[in-house]
Symmetry: C2
Subunit: 433 residues, 2 copies
């Protein structure tokens, strides 16, 4: 099956909003095994829309629309597609009642134009919208071409797609699909070279999406039954895990901090943070996880040298001797945070996020990350080289990601790649790291 | 002039990447007064591309391409457009030398396919690429239609656009443009109703872009000379400022924290943060501004009750009496942070970010924000109702924005809307706020 995605809206043509709907629908259609040939954005112009629908119908089996279902007179998408598919629209009392109820709930008054939104296909069918006012519409012509019209508001569109359109298309594709997303630390190029052949499969499929310092690998299996799809998906996912090892940190989680909070909770551990260059980002990420208060109580943002001394007990002489951006200071910060908070695990981080401030032998992007394990009075020190990117926010984001990963590794007893074992009593010599 | 944007790339059709190029080009063309009729995404399929170019040329004066200039055999965009515009390509020694030098610098070896990238238009002209290997191409047919081909990598495309394509189009449009972006606190609906008529102007134009808790208003003037455009732009911007007052906090800054850091620096002041529900977000935002160490040294993430007591000196009896999520605790946190850090200004914030944890009379989204001004031993307390959104990260982001704005207002001596004046000695009664 082939498809085209058509997003309707002048605000898209003006660049007022970013078209995230097109990406969402592209991914979803790819997962269903439907080839997208062309994506379009057009305004509310019935003539151009008519011409586009006529052409797209000739090329493709399925047209997926988002937007153009609003109440204003400009919004003629439904009327135009109905005409192109030889269908008509009629007024649907049930939808109108839902629209009236929606306006009553939000203390607003519908305009006569809102009646347009209650018009539904006569030969095709409406698609109920449980998350907004405008129902969607499904048209079908005599040659089996379909057009699916959904709202433009991303929240409403995604809900309608997931709850109603996708299951209907799956049935037509005569399969069920199962997807899972593996999250992996490391850049796309380093990951992709290790697992390149796994991306060549057509079922299950695998796609990689890059984020800062990590990647998502989405595996999708299409099978006749839900059980078979799930089994095939999990088996294929395992192939990635076998190759990627503990860099593959979790499945179907929004971000690394969710894994860290879960692991800490499972192990009955607490974490504290002492941040200089990341300025609170590690704490912010941990506390964005609901329920994180069970495992995180204290975060120290010690941006000034005096703050490192007063809040974490970092010795002024240590700073004087090694510089504030140094391994010994990171170690002292981490153990100081563990001491001041009573947490079993803590991280300390100091570095040069730029743009200015490079030191001899320490270019922008140099970050010292230490982890303290108060249970054994030992820890880890890493020297990270995150420059080359040169952008302050990216250096900080990558540094925070390493810190979260260090907490995960200490909690799980995993090896710390390129990490140097340390204790609070003996500051490591700079030359060793 | 009318235009179409054509993004070439299978990875876009698969949803592997988000199409930010289309939004960038849409905004830029709108600013130049060029109407975008249609945006397309297509794969590397010469037949479909040829058909599209043929149609788009009939409809529009200008075709703006991104992507399809890569070295692989699939990348036939340049060849296809050349043919459609009755042009040919020839090998350009200078471009080839640049490509060879680029490979040498990055320790890689070019493939024979890379020679394709050195092919440039014969009647049209090449567009040098100072940020990557592939030059762009400019084609023009006998009827004055143009096609501009740029790389797909956003960084390379944006640089080529800004440095070369945009100035050339401006010359054709026979005007210069000047844009400025006003940043305003408050949601789009509340702002838009106040300044709605100002968005109707066609020159200068104004467009509003919503962010969480704030909006950007971009004003663009087109005039014959640069001075006239700048003058018209600034005059129109002032109309917005006159209506929006001090909610309009700055012009041409990336975010509120940049304004806060600038204002603190100008006033010779320092700020400290004591965060519970925002978990470090305020500190993280402040420290993302280069040079923020001049004005910010101490951030306390006191997620646990014990942390509020130990680090900020919040009285356990106060927490017992009022609850940890309360105005008196926020006030004690703010003054505690000022005391512990020595900063002149501090904010304290405690609230319910959800999803669970609602208290009687305090639904999810209830946030107490206090500001301490140690110079006068007075401050402000606000009770924010950020629920209704129900999403933890949005509640936190909006709360942090209010906190940053409170720092700005205290530093500038601006009124604090809905704020209640407080002192550290007399905890406010809960019933008053």
């Amino acid at each position: 099956m082939t498809a085209e995605i058509i997003c309707v809206g002048t605000e898209l043509l003006l660049g007022d909003i970013l078209n995230t709907n097109a990406q969402f629908l592209s991914r979803e259609l790819a997962e269903l095994g439907i080839s997208v040939l062309h994506e379009h954005v057009i305004g509310d112009n019935p003539e151009r829309l008519r011409e586009l629908v006529r052409q797209a119908c000739r090329r493709s089996d399925l047209l997926v629309f988002s937007g153009g279902l609003g109440p204003t007179e400009d919004d003629l998408t439904k009327e135009t597609v109905a005409e192109a598919f030889g269908d008509t629209l009629h007024f649907d009392e049930e939808e109108w009642d839902k629209i009236l109820a929606f306006f009553a709930r939000t203390n607003r008054t519908p305009t006569p134009n809102n009646r347009k939104q209650a018009m539904v296909p006569t030969h095709g069918h409406k698609i109920p919208n449980d998350h907004g006012t405008a129902p969607g519409a499904w048209f079908e012509d005599s040659q089996g071409h379909c057009a699916v019209l959904m709202p433009g508001v991303p929240r409403e569109m995604k809900a309608m797609w997931t709850e109603q359109v996708r299951p209907a298309l799956q049935k037509r594709q005569n399969c069920t699909i199962h997807s899972r997303t593996l999250r992996v630390l490391g850049g796309e190029s380093s990951i992709a070279t290790k697992v390149a052949p796994l991306f060549e499969s057509t079922n299950p499929t695998a796609a990689i999406y890059c984020k800062t310092g990590e990647s998502e690998i989405r595996v999708t299996a299409r099978e006749a039954t839900a059980e078979a799809a799930e089994r095939a998906c999990n088996a294929y996912l395992q192939k990635f895990r076998d190759i990627l090892g503990d860099a593959a940190y979790d499945v179907d989680v929004p971000a690394l901090e969710y894994t860290v909070v879960r692991v800490l909770r499972e192990k009955g551990l607490h974490a504290a943070t002492a941040e200089s260059c990341t300025g609170g980002m590690i704490a912010e990420r941990l506390t964005n996880v609901p329920g994180s208060s069970e495992v995180f109580g204290y975060g120290f943002v010690t941006y000034a040298e005096a703050a490192k001394q007063r809040l974490l007990g970092v010795d002024a002489a240590l700073i004087e001797r090694y510089n504030v951006v140094s391994g010994p200071v990171a170690v002292a910060m981490a153990f100081g945070a563990a001491r001041a908070s009573g947490a079993e695990l803590a991280v300390g981080i100091t570095g040069l996020a730029g743009p200015g401030g490079a030191l001899p032998g320490k270019p922008v992007g140099t970050v010292y990350l230490a982890g303290a394990d108060a249970r054994a009075n030992t820890g880890w020190l890493l020297r990270l080289a995150l420059g080359g990117y040169h952008e302050r926010s990216i250096i900080r984001t990558r540094a925070a990601l390493y810190a979260l990963d260090l907490l995960r590794r200490m909690a799980l007893g995993l090896p710390v790649p390129d990490g140097m074992a340390v204790t609070p009593q003996t500051p490591p010599e700079e030359s060793n790291i």
